[in-house]
């Protein structure tokens, strides 16, 4: 899966491009669907689709491990959690809370401007340099990157990187990894605590009630 260097200006339409367009348009469309949908249940569904499409884009970019994780963690974990949330709070009045027109206008305005800023930047930094002189003085990593890409599974290298073993194109990430681990633990505990807090009060009230009766 590679794109030839020769078609830098006008590349042929290949499978990679088609797939990219497919997933890219899908992701964009469902993202917008999330925005414009008023129903929270549908929003959740669209979100799943958008994330799944993103996962596809990950695969296309050669990040197989990240794409997998995207599917597993996001679509399989996080969004399930979200859906639980929707279900727990999904009573009629809340399923579709209407947003005031003014908000829409403001949001659209701000969003539009943001987009107007981001897209030129994407063009500016995303395009290859105009001439070869631009690539002089590249680092070794850049040199590697500029060489012909080789499709190799990334899971091993990522795993090593996370365990703190720097590879040729990856730094050691042991410390961030550990921090993330602790962070996750804390978040879980916190989430559990938050979710329990109300029940305690209720229990106390009940005990008071029972004591009263």
């Amino acid at each position: 899966m590679r794109t030839g260097n020769g078609g830098r200006r006008m590349g042929e339409i290949n499978g990679h491009t088609v797939l990219f367009l497919f997933f890219g348009i899908l992701a964009c469309l469902f993202s917008l669907a999330v925005v414009f949908s008023a129903n929270v249940v549908r929003m959740a569904f669209y979100l799943i689709l958008a994330l799944a499409a993103t996962s596809g884009l990950h695969f296309l970019a050669g990040a197989d491990f990240v794409g997998t994780m995207q599917l597993v963690l996001y679509v399989g974990g996080t969004l399930v959690l979200l859906v639980f949330g929707v279900m727990l709070t999904a009573q009629n009045p809340f399923i579709s809370l209407r947003t005031a027109g003014g908000d829409w206008i403001v949001a659209a305005l701000v969003g539009g401007i943001l987009l107007v800023i981001l897209v030129p930047v994407a063009f500016q930094i995303g395009l290859p340099p105009q001439d070869a002189g631009d690539i002089e003085g590249l680092t070794q990593r850049e040199a590697v990157a500029s060489s012909e890409p080789v499709s190799v599974p990334t899971a091993t290298r990522i795993g090593l990187g996370l365990l703190g073993v720097p590879g040729d194109d990856v730094s050691g990430y042991l410390l961030p990894f550990e921090i993330i681990s602790i962070h996750l633990l804390v978040v879980l505990v916190g989430a559990a605590y938050l979710a329990r807090a109300k029940r305690k009060v209720v229990v106390r009230q009940e005990s008071q009630n029972s004591a009263g009766s």
């Binding site: 908000d103 403001v106 949001a107 701000v110 969003g111 401007i113 943001l114 800023i117």
Partner: protein
């Protein structure tokens, strides 16, 4: 001799002080209810009298009754009369003093004049005790003993002894609890209080001590000390009935009016002290007895100047020291000021016009007090001092004295006509007689004045004690409630008659009379003599003569109203009785003296008034240089020598006039109050305005109240108000202003500036917070928008802002 005399008198003087101290500390415990106090006090004063009498006898033994040479007296008189001042100067220019045309015949001619004294008069002086001593300036307690001192001592102790005995009877009520009927309490009852018998005698003793101190005083400062002390004794004795408002007010009045006189006296003292540097009459001696500093008299009348009065060198020097343009003249003025100042004190003490107002009120005291203090001794002290200080008086001062005396004698006599309170009549009579004495001294009659002082002491104390006896019997002072008492109390009545006759100067002209006859004749004679020499002032003689008539009138009015006719108040009459023996015995004794004290002892010269031993003794005491004519420098007045008045022509004329006027007054009294030919009521209504005028005592009290007391109190209130209203107001308001200023300052600096700055910052911060709060809507979605906008802003900033 000197030490014996001085020690005798010292002892006689200090005995009453001892008595005072004993009674002060042990008074109530002496005998039952303090009865012993009377014995202590009486014993002291009687011993004092014995000592004084011894001194008198010693004196007479040493100096004789007189050194008189009567043989040539007539000639000398004649010579005196013929000599004019100019001729005297012509005879002996060296004798002429600087300021005063003066001559002392006897001394100047080295011969013997009518009263026969060669050289200075006999006097002993010295110091017992030094009160204050600043090298050259000394204030001492000393003695100055001459015939006058001894006579006065004897007279005072004698009368005081009589009065002590009398008081033992009179104050008998005070031995037990007393109900004072004149004091009503707020609950309507009369005041009941324990008796104060011992305290009365305590005060009497203190008074005797003080009075004798004045008499024996060797310097004018000592006189002043005891002057004040008799004043305070008088205060205590007048206010003896302390519960009576009238009594305490009268006591205050007496003391304060006396202080007015003392104010003048202090000025006199200052004038003397500031220039002469001594207060001593005779001179200051050192331990060896030599005179180290001449006395005042010697400075004013130097022996070398034949005792002619001239301004003391020290006064001239003092005037020069003060930068006077004409020191001689100013020095003379200083001498006049000194004389007038001293006389001022005498005016106060002797209750002369215009300070006479206290004496009638002083009758609030018990009658023995009136007899002793306010007639015989203390009030006479003023006259005594004028007599003692006589050498220092310039003719100007003497003229003032005469005028004051003359006014007093007339004014007091007129008031006495209308008074109905028996003691007040006597009080005004006392005033009048003191006026006579002053008048006599003022017109140059030193012996006449002094003689009247002594005779008056006897008969006036007799009169007062008689009136006390009457009051004791009828328990009222008002003569309108008496009458016919002669039958109930004959001894009192007749002794009082003696007193009345003595005071009007009854006697057979040119022949013989009671004591008052001699003294009053002498005064009038000298007055006539003076009038003849100073035509401008001869009116004073007629005033004095009229006074004699009035005296006779009011004295017999008193006697008739009290003892003659029908009782006006039968209840009082019924209770009346003769006083106990302890009270009437002194009356008899005093009556005896009132008759004979001035009688000539020489049988051969029985009709010559100057032959009386009393007169002779006084003549001995006459201050050096006063027995001559001398005239004033400022006021054109000539003081005629006294012996000139013994001239047959003058003396006879004066005697006849005195007799005539007295008889006139007496007859008038008889007509009105005995024979009832005239109705007093009718007379009274006929002269109603005059009666009211006299009845109100010439409105002196009201006048003084209006022009002195009220303004003084007003001034006091003003000043107190000024203190509170002005000074304190200023201080308080300064404080308030200061406080408000600092408060303002504090507000301005602290609140406005410092606090303001802080508050401003806080307010700004707060406002910023409020302003910043506005975006904090709490709306999550807006926050998101903000975040996005913020991100964009940062991006734009990074892109366009920072790169430029």
């Amino acid at each position: 001799m000197e030490s014996i005399l001085s020690n005798l008198l010292l002892l006689a003087w200090l005995l009453p002080l001892a008595s005072f101290c004993v009674i002060l500390f042990f008074g109530p415990r002496l005998g039952t209810a303090g009865r012993g106090a009377a014995f202590v006090a009486t014993g002291a004063i009687v011993s004092g009298f014995a000592l004084s009498l011894t001194a008198l006898i010693l004196w007479v033994g040493t100096h004789g009754i007189s050194g008189a040479h009567h043989a040539d007296s007539a000639d000398t008189h004649a010579a005196d009369q013929t000599l004019s001042p100019d001729s005297q100067v012509a005879i002996d220019p060296s004798a002429a003093a600087v300021h005063l045309v003066a001559a002392d015949h006897g001394d100047a001619h080295g011969g013997d004049h009518g009263h026969g004294r060669v050289g200075p008069k006999a006097a002993y002086f010295g110091d017992w005790y030094t009160l204050v001593d600043f090298d050259r300036l000394k204030i001492t307690i000393g003695y100055y003993i001459d015939a006058l001192t001894v006579l006065m001592f004897t007279m005072v102790t004698l009368i005081a002894s009589c009065i002590h005995f009398y008081a033992m009877g009179y104050m008998h009520d005070e031995l037990h609890d007393v109900t004072d009927h004149e004091v009503t309490l707020s609950n309507g009852e009369h005041l009941k209080r324990p008796g104060r018998y011992h305290r009365f005698f305590q005060y009497l003793s203190l008074f005797c001590f003080s009075m004798l101190g004045i008499v024996v005083a060797g310097n004018i400062a000592m006189t002043f000390v005891f002057w004040e002390l008799v004043g305070i004794c008088s205060y205590f004795l007048i206010g003896f009935y302390i519960e009576r408002k009238s009594a305490s007010t009268a006591a205050n009045k007496a003391f304060i009016v006396n202080r007015v006189g003392d104010f003048g006296m202090i000025i006199g003292l200052m004038a003397l002290w500031g220039s002469l540097g001594t207060f001593s009459f005779g001179g200051e001696k050192n331990d060896a007895g030599d005179i180290v500093k001449p006395g005042m008299f010697a400075q004013a009348r130097a022996e070398t100047d034949h005792y002619a009065l001239k301004t003391p060198e020290a006064m001239v020097e003092s005037a020069r020291q003060m930068g006077a343009e004409d020191p001689e003249h100013t020095g003379h003025v200083l001498l006049i000021v000194a004389g007038l100042g001293i006389f001022c004190g005498c005016v106060g003490k002797s209750a002369q016009f215009p300070l006479h107002v206290w004496l009638p009120d002083a009758m609030e005291g018990p009658t023995p007090v009136s007899a002793l203090v306010h007639s015989a001794t203390m009030v006479a002290a003023g006259v005594f001092l004028v007599g003692r200080f006589y050498p220092m008086f310039t003719p100007e001062v003497l003229l003032t004295i005469a005028i004051i005396g003359c006014i007093t004698l007339f004014m007091a006599a007129t008031i006495a006509i209308t008074a109905t309170d028996i003691k007040r009549v006597l009080a005004y009579s006392t005033l009048s007689q003191l006026g006579y004495m002053m008048f006599a001294l003022g017109v140059g009659g030193w012996v006449a004045g002094m003689l009247h002082l002594i005779t008056h002491a006897f008969f006036k104390s007799l009169l007062f004690m008689c009136s006390g006896s009457v009051i004791h019997a009828v328990h009222t002072n008002e003569m309108t409630q008496m009458g016919g008492l002669r039958r109930k109390m004959p001894i009192t009545a007749y002794t009082m008659l003696v007193g009345c006759l003595a005071i009007i100067g009854a006697g057979v002209p040119t022949l013989v009379g009671l004591s008052g006859y001699y003294s009053k004749d002498a005064i009038l004679a000298q007055a006539l003599h003076f009038g003849k020499n100073n035509a401008a002032w001869d009116v004073m003689f007629y005033v004095a003569a009229a006074g004699a008539a009035i005296t006779a009138f009011y004295m017999f009015r008193l006697w008739f109203m009290t003892f003659i006719g029908q009782p006006r108040d039968p209840s009082r009459y019924d209770h009346a009785h003769e006083s106990p023996r302890v009270m009437w015995m002194p009356l008899v004794v005093l009556a005896f003296f009132a008759i004979f004290v001035a009688t000539p002892a020489d049988i051969e010269n029985f009709t010559d008034p100057t032959a009386s031993p009393m007169v002779q003794l006084l003549e001995q005491a006459r201050p050096d240089g006063t027995g001559i004519d001398f005239s004033g420098q400022l006021a054109g007045v000539m003081m005629p020598a006294e012996h000139g008045s013994h001239d047959e022509e003058i003396h006879l004329a004066a005697g006849m006039i005195a007799f005539g006027t007295a008889m006139f007054g007496l007859l008038l009294a008889c007509c009105l109050y005995w024979w009832r030919i005239l109705d007093p009521e009718e007379v009274r209504s006929m002269f109603a305005p005059i009666y009211r005028f006299l009845r109100n005592k010439w409105w002196f009290d009201e006048l003084y109240d209006a022009i002195f007391i009220r303004p003084t109190l007003f001034c006091g209130r003003c000043i107190a108000q000024c203190d509170r209203g002005a000074i304190d107001w200023l201080i308080d308001h300064l404080a308030i202003w200061m406080r408000s200023f600092t408060a303002g300052f504090d507000r301005w600096i602290d609140r406005l500036f410092v606090d303001g700055l802080i508050n401003w910052v806080a307010q700004r911060t707060y406002a910023l917070g409020i302003w910043l709060r506005k975006p904090q809507t709490g709306r999550l979605r807006q926050y998101v928008v903000f975040i996005v906008v913020g991100t964009m802003a940062m991006y734009l900033l990074a892109t366009f802002g920072l790169t430029n």
